[in-house]
Amino acid sequence: MPEVTYLEALRQGLREELQRDERVFILGEDVGVYGGAFKVTEGFLQEFGERRVIDTPISEAAIVGAAAGAAHMGLRPVAEMQFIDFISCAYDMLTNYVATARYRAGLPTPLVVRGPSGGYVRGGPFHSQNPEAAFLHTPGLKIVCPATARDAKGLIKAAIRDDDPVLYFEHKFLYRRIKENLPEDGDLLTPIGKARVAREGTDLSIITYSATVWKSLEAAEQLEKEDGLKVEVLDLRTLLPMDDEAILATVKKTNKVMIVHEDTRTGGVAGEITARINEHAFEWLDGPVLRVTAADVPLPYAPTLEDYVLPSTADIVKVARHLAAY
């Protein structure tokens, strides 16, 4: 079992699906000759040819729109947003056209829109965004946010095979920072809609996804060492549809819950999770549901500013101690 990075795992998943299913093709800006801004699709043009790896004009709406049209006709397009920040240029196409296509017109629209999201990389306001909350509110879309190399691969393969449109938000901070041993043979698929207990615990639960899974695991480690707290970490993996069963299971197990995400606070995913817990497991709680998130500001560039705005391991430890005291 060779060790692969998150980025390599994603690339493997894409390549395997391109090899397995000739209906799969890739389109996006600089995905062909250049192999993608982060080299996710490096070598694909040579391997699969320019019909299946298409360099497009700088036109996010057309990329997504064309992907939808091709998907209606039975193909399985994977559209890359060079940075996920630019998905806002395709917001109309995704929310009005793609998300409603099956419901309003019975149109099959199996497509994937993927791209690098997230901060901690000094990318500034337009190369660091986390756009999930903007789409969480759109019935008809599915949203996945892999945190591990295994899920980077397993979720891209599952997303491509899914019959619904899937937004796949990979995290650029994780691209080359985490590695994992993955089996070379067999189909590695992560089911969409299923969370994963990343660390078992009994005293307190952290519900999180994407890069902050790792910060939460660090915090859990520290809390066990320094406070003797057994912290459970739930990696959601999929945001839409949300795994209510897993969320309620961890609430009922530890009775204390905090939610950690890198995206800004107001109107964020944490608010939705809190509401679900409130509605379905109020009597199981021994304390308030607390949030650790980015501050409500556009993400700034300078290291001092970015580090101040984004959630840190220290923030998670501090809030966990506050919650544990209830």
Binding site: F25, R51, R52, I54, T56, P57, S59, A61, A62, I63, V64, G65, A66, A67, A68, G69, A70, A71, H72, M73, G74, L75, P77, D92, M93, N96, Y97, T100, R102, Y103, R104, A105, G106, L107, P108, P110, P139, G140, K142, D162, D163, D164, P241, E279, H280
Partner: protein, 353 residues
């Protein structure tokens, strides 16, 4: 109006243009009249509040819709705009489906989810529009892309109005299609008005066909109220696309004689302008005149077609009127392929949270 003598007229008739047969001319007449009559029936239903939402008319624009769609083959695809009912009928949309859709019936093509002519049929080769103007250009570029990737000699036709040429998606879609040399024809129906806005307030170009230059594609300006001219121009563009020649932009000159939708009293439109187009440039009148002058299709034959359409529409309206609305809970079906039905909200299913 008296019919020409059926025995002598065909002998005297000049040759039919554009490779069309006499039977096809009859069929074109059928679709023109069907479009107009169907909309008139819908207007009656609208006045009786049986059309649930808005009603959009293509009065005076039927020629461009029917003529252009008629240039497609069965395996080709189109995406209509709100004033292209005629194109959809040519592509196989059933009048009953249209009436059901306007009346929000359970058996409507979208099962009551969408309004007016916002529906499609992948088997018949047309994809329904959404309200966001210009969005169908990239989507249909994607359909054309699928044809290219599969080496299929099939073509896509997408309609936009003069207003939609101002949108970003129009630009992005046509540019992508041009760069990829996709088999696509874009028809800009310039009817002079985008709701209450004149074309001159929409764009500073003298004529919309000039925009073709900006995309490096051929463009042609067409008399959109001459059904056979619309057919011929579209046919040329479609066959160029089929042969690998890429995208063509056609500007159809026409005029919107009704308001944006039926509720719109169109006070902003000069009355004499509407009257002049109605009197001198109605596509069906012009086609009738052409058929009379050439003797290709007799007045008697045309009258029989109109009577048949009238009977069919009466039946269709009665059928649809007697049908139910969709079951309320079907609102939760098919947001996703999987799961196929969403759970009802807990206070709607009688159980506890």
């Amino acid at each position: 109006m008296t019919a020409r003598a059926p025995v002598t007229a065909p002998k005297a008739a000049p040759p039919i243009p554009a490779g069309l047969t006499r039977e096809q001319l009859v069929e074109i007449y059928y679709y023109l009249w069907l479009t107009r009559s169907l909309e008139e029936r819908l207007t009656n239903l609208y006045r009786q509040s049986k059309v649930i939402g808005g009603l959009f008319r293509s009065l005076g624009q039927e020629g461009g819709s029917v003529g252009s769609a008629y240039a497609l083959r069965e395996e080709d695809f189109l995406s209509p705009l709100i004033r292209n009912l005629g194109s959809m009928l040519v592509k196989g949309a059933e009048p009953l489906a249209v009436v059901r859709q306007y009346m929000a019936k359970a058996e409507s093509p979208t099962r009551g989810r969408e309004l007016n002519i916002h529906f499609g049929d992948l088997d018949k080769g047309y994809i329904g529009q959404i309200s966001h103007l210009g969005d169908m250009v990239p989507v249909m570029a994607g359909v054309a892309l699928s044809f290219k990737l599969r080496n299929a000699k099939r073509v896509v036709l997408v309609y936009v109005g003069d207003g939609a040429t101002s949108t970003g998606t129009f630009h992005e879609g046509i540019n992508l299609a041009a760069v990829q040399k996709l088999p696509m024809v874009v028809i800009v129906e310039n009817n002079g008005w985008a709701y209450s806005t004149r074309t001159a307030q929409q764009t500073a170009v003298k004529q919309l066909v000039d925009k073709a230059k900006g995309y490096g594609i051929p463009g042609e300006r067409v008399d959109g109220n001459d059904v056979l001219a619309a057919y011929e121009a579209t046919k040329r563009a479609v066959e160029r696309a089929r042969a690998g020649g890429g995208v063509t932009l056609l500007e159809f000159l026409t005029y919107r004689r009704k308001g944006h939708a039926e509720h719109d009293a169109q006070g902003y439109q000069p009355k004499d302008e509407i009257a002049e187009w109605a009197a001198k440039n109605d596509p069906i009148d012009r086609y009738e005149k052409q058929l009379d002058e050439t003797g290709w299709v007799s007045a008697g034959e045309r009258a029989a077609i109109r009577e048949r359409i009238d009977r069919e529409l009466t039946e269709i309206v009665t059928t649809s009127e007697n049908e139910p609305f969709p079951e309320a809970e079907s609102a939760l079906d098919e947001v996703y392929a999987n799961p196929p039905r969403l759970e009802p909200l807990w206070y709607r299913n009688g159980s506890n949270a």
